[in-house]
């Protein structure tokens, strides 16, 4: 069964460093998303992406964040200068079609620890 994959599973970084989290969505999916979950809190939407551009972003997704689909398979989330409060589990998701009726498929997550 096709699945969303994410690398690395755990990333430890120093505050102020740049990190890139990688995701490989399901191959025929066209819509991509990043969510994050701070420990003990809700899963929160960060950004959605379609046709090589951002469709929607949340207030969390400030200028420190960027997303890119550098090739036909990868979808990346970059945090330019990490802060302590960026420590969280980051989930990538993809869906075949747009629209709220279409379920999103989630990857296993990357745990980001900022020291």
């Amino acid at each position: 069964e096709p699945e969303v994959t994410q690398t690395p599973s755990h990333q430890v970084t120093q505050m102020g460093q740049e990190v890139i989290l990688r995701c490989v969505p399901i191959s025929n999916h066209l819509y991509f998303y990043w969510y994050r979950q701070i420990l003990g809190q809700k899963v929160e939407f960060l950004v959605s992406f379609y046709n090589n551009e951002i469709s929607e972003k949340s207030e969390i997704f400030d200028d420190q964040f960027s997303v890119e689909r550098p090739d036909g398979s990868n979808f990346t989330l970059k945090i330019r200068s990490t802060k302590l409060e960026d420590s969280a589990m980051y989930f990538c998701a993809s869906s075949e079609l747009a629209g709220g009726a279409n379920e999103q498929f989630f990857g296993p997550g990357t745990r980001l620890t900022v020291l």
Partner: protein
Amino acid sequence: AQSVAQPEDQVNVAEGNPLTVKCTYSVSGNPYLFWYVQYPNRGLQFLLKYITGDNLVKGSYGFEAEFNKSQTSFHLKKPSALVSDSALYFCALARSSGTYKYIFGTGTRLKVLA
């Protein structure tokens, strides 16, 4: 404002007993509602969704959920719990138009006791 509430942090149930995990929502317009399950070190796995039509929806692994518009609820149920059902369960809401992001509840940890 849209929101999802899962009022129970943890639900304990004996194996073989029926289980219910509660979810209530608030949204303007028609909701699309989803249940996901998360096992340790795994991503969120889709269980079922309500879009329209029959208020009782059936999903994976014997789970079902009942949409109740008057009570704005979408509780997850299973007639007979298994120890392997022990996991973290998330209810999510999407709007029927405009944005398609999910709004998640805080999650409910289900523990099925042998």
